[in-house]
């Protein structure tokens, strides 16, 4: 269980996020959606301790994150930003190895067990063949997979992804999301991600949280959340929701902006 309990975030005296709560069950994929400026990325940043929150708490498996050291948190939770930059000559395997450092004391070297986990993470992300290539020589999708492999090497219980598909083309977007789903199903890893694309959110998540103006507007399964009403209210767009018999999740067909 991963619970975000009524957190509020202020930036320069202004409230960005008000009393925001949600719960992700163990092994669930939760997507956070909302228009630009709604605060969805801010929530993820606060949860991953990149920015402070002023009230509320984030609880992982019964423990408040604030009572844990940064390293202890890093062993249980990992956050990946939209875009990450590796030094130009760093190889894939070197990058993935850094994921093991939260499990090491400052003087300890990586041992065989660590390297086994690194190789396992490379295999899970289908990067074993690329392990000695520099990150910069990879395509956008491959490099995003390398960062996910680094996150995997941390062996987190919860993986936070901030718009993991933003800078990728369509097939790479799906490649990354399919990988996320695969990892979630194989390992029971809880995933919380911020997405822009409503269809991707619908297709790849067990539940969807809608954020509007710094507050939670809705939370439920894709079927409950993806309604023409919600889209009209939150995104100011007219839409059709299509239910295709062969698919469990609704498809959103956007029509036009609300005049």
């Amino acid at each position: 269980m991963f619970t975000v309990d009524s957190i509020s975030i202020k930036y320069e005296q202004k409230n960005i996020i008000n009393n925001f709560s949600f719960t992700a069950k163990q092994g669930e994929i939760v997507s956070i959606i909302g228009p630009n400026g709604s605060g969805k990325s801010t929530i993820l940043k606060a949860v991953s301790r990149l920015i402070p929150y002023h009230t509320g708490s984030v609880v992982l498996e019964g423990t408040d994150l604030k009572s844990m050291s940064a390293k202890q948190v890093a062993r249980k939770m990992c956050m990946l930003s939209q875009k990450n930059q590796a030094p130009s000559d760093m190889t894939v395997i070197d990058l993935v190895s850094y994921g093991r450092y939260p499990h090491k004391k400052w003087f300890e070297r990586l041992d065989n067990e660590d390297m086994e986990i690194v190789h396992w993470a490379l295999e899970k992300t289908h990067l074993t063949a690329y392990k000695d290539r520099p990150i910069v020589s990879l395509s956008g999708g491959e490099s995003q997979r390398a960062w996910i492999a680094m996150a995997l090497a941390q062996r987190p219980k919860v993986l936070l992804l901030d718009e993991p598909t933003t800078y990728l083309d369509i097939s790479h977007q799906h490649e990354v999301l399919e990988l996320v789903r695969e990892l979630n199903q194989d390992m029971g890893m809880t995933v919380v991600m911020v997405l822009h694309d409503l269809n991707q959110a619908s297709c790849y998540s067990d539940s969807v949280v809608v954020v509007q103006g710094g507050e939670k507007a809705m939370h439920g399964t894709p079927n409950q959340v993806m309604t023409t009403d919600m889209i009209r209210k939150v995104y100011r767009m007219d839409s059709e929701i299509q239910y295709i018999p062969t698919e469990k999740k609704p498809r959103i067909h956007l029509l036009s902006t609300v005049k």
């Binding site: 202890q72 190889t91 850094y98």
Partner: protein, 329 residues
């Protein structure tokens, strides 16, 4: 792609090259001493008093001092480049060198009776400059490299002004400080060496412990903090170390530019950006480069002793421009 065993060989080779260059440099100068004589004086109790005096009291301290300080400034630059995430960062650019120099100059010119406090003044001045840079660059979310460099420019201008003012106010005492201001190792003997050596050893040991943190911080603030690191604390500790290494060098021989900028850059080209190799490489290469600059300075225009800082500027600035032209930054 940079191969790690290749990097290891290059680092070892550079280290050996620096040591060999050091031995050769002991031989060259007003009195030429052949290498076999140098080795026999160094490794046995030779009775040749003229050679042993030249070697032990003049050449060896100067050679060692050049190498130690070259290594110090290069490591300092390498650390600052990691901390600020910018390959342009070096002790000169951030104002650390000129801050330290301004404080040293106050003692040298205005209070020459307190010369024993020069190392402390240098550290204080460097720290003061660095603190101003950090205070100006500090934001809620941390320290941004761009603002750090802009405030470094301002601090440099301020300290440069102070140095200018001091040289005008105390122009009668200036000759004593001119050599130092230009970064000269002339007439530096065992005293200066013994002052620098203990600090340098401490600094080097700490630098080797800093390698992993420097590597992690290179991945960016978000990734580093995601790996459970306190990014701002790493920044402050590594910066303190960089200031320390730069300040003791300024205290000993004055302002030497470009070593902290050019050497880590060359090291990166040769062994890649992994600090596991880049840090020892910067150290060996820094020692070699400053040794060449100093030995060149004292032999090329003999009997004139051109300060190493001047030679470094003459060689370093065009190299820097060449890097800019290649858009290496």
């Amino acid at each position: 792609m940079i191969n790690t065993s290749r990097s290891r060989i290059i680092v070892t080779f550079t280290l050996i090259l620096a040591i060999v260059a050091g031995i050769i440099a002991i031989g060259v100068g007003g009195v030429y001493i052949p290498i076999p004589d140098i080795l026999s004086t160094l490794f046995s109790s030779s009775s040749d008093t003229v050679n042993s005096t030249i070697i032990w009291d003049i050449r060896l301290p100067r050679v060692l001092l050049a190498m130690i300080i070259g290594a110090n400034i290069a490591i300092s630059g390498a650390l600052l480049q990691a901390v600020m995430g910018n390959p342009l960062a070096d002790p000169g650019l951030t104002g650390v060198t000129s801050g330290a120099a301004a404080c040293v100059l106050v003692i040298m010119l205005a209070a020459p009776e307190y010369t024993q406090f020069i190392p402390i003044a240098a550290f204080g001045g460097g720290l003061f400059a660095a603190s101003i840079v950090y205070a100006l660059a500090w934001r809620r979310s941390g320290i941004s490299p761009v603002t750090i460099i802009l405030s470094g420019v301002a601090v440099n201008a301020l300290c440069g002004g102070l140095i200018g003012l001091l040289t005008i106010m105390y122009s009668d005492r200036l000759p004593a400080a001119v050599q130092w201001l230009n970064g000269s190792l002339a007439a530096k003997g065992n005293n200066a060496l013994m002052m620098v050596l203990p600090y340098a050893i401490v600094g080097w040991i700490l630098s080797f412990f800093a390698i992993r943190k420097a590597n992690i911080i290179r991945l960016g603030d978000q990734v580093a903090s995601n790996l459970g690191e306190n990014v701002n604390r790493i920044r402050i500790l590594l910066s303190l170390l960089a200031v320390f290494l730069a300040a003791i060098s300024v205290a000993a021989i004055g302002m030497i530019g470009f070593v902290g900028l050019v050497v880590p850059h060359m090291a990166r080209l040769l062994v890649g950006s992994d600090y596991k190799y880049m840090m020892p490489m910067s150290m060996a290469l820094g020692a070699l480069v400053l040794l060449i600059a100093d030995t060149g300075g004292r032999t090329l225009f003999s009997p004139l002793d051109i300060p190493a800082g001047i030679l470094m500027a003459v060689i370093g600035a065009p190299y820097f421009l060449y890097l800019m032209r290649k858009k290496a930054f």
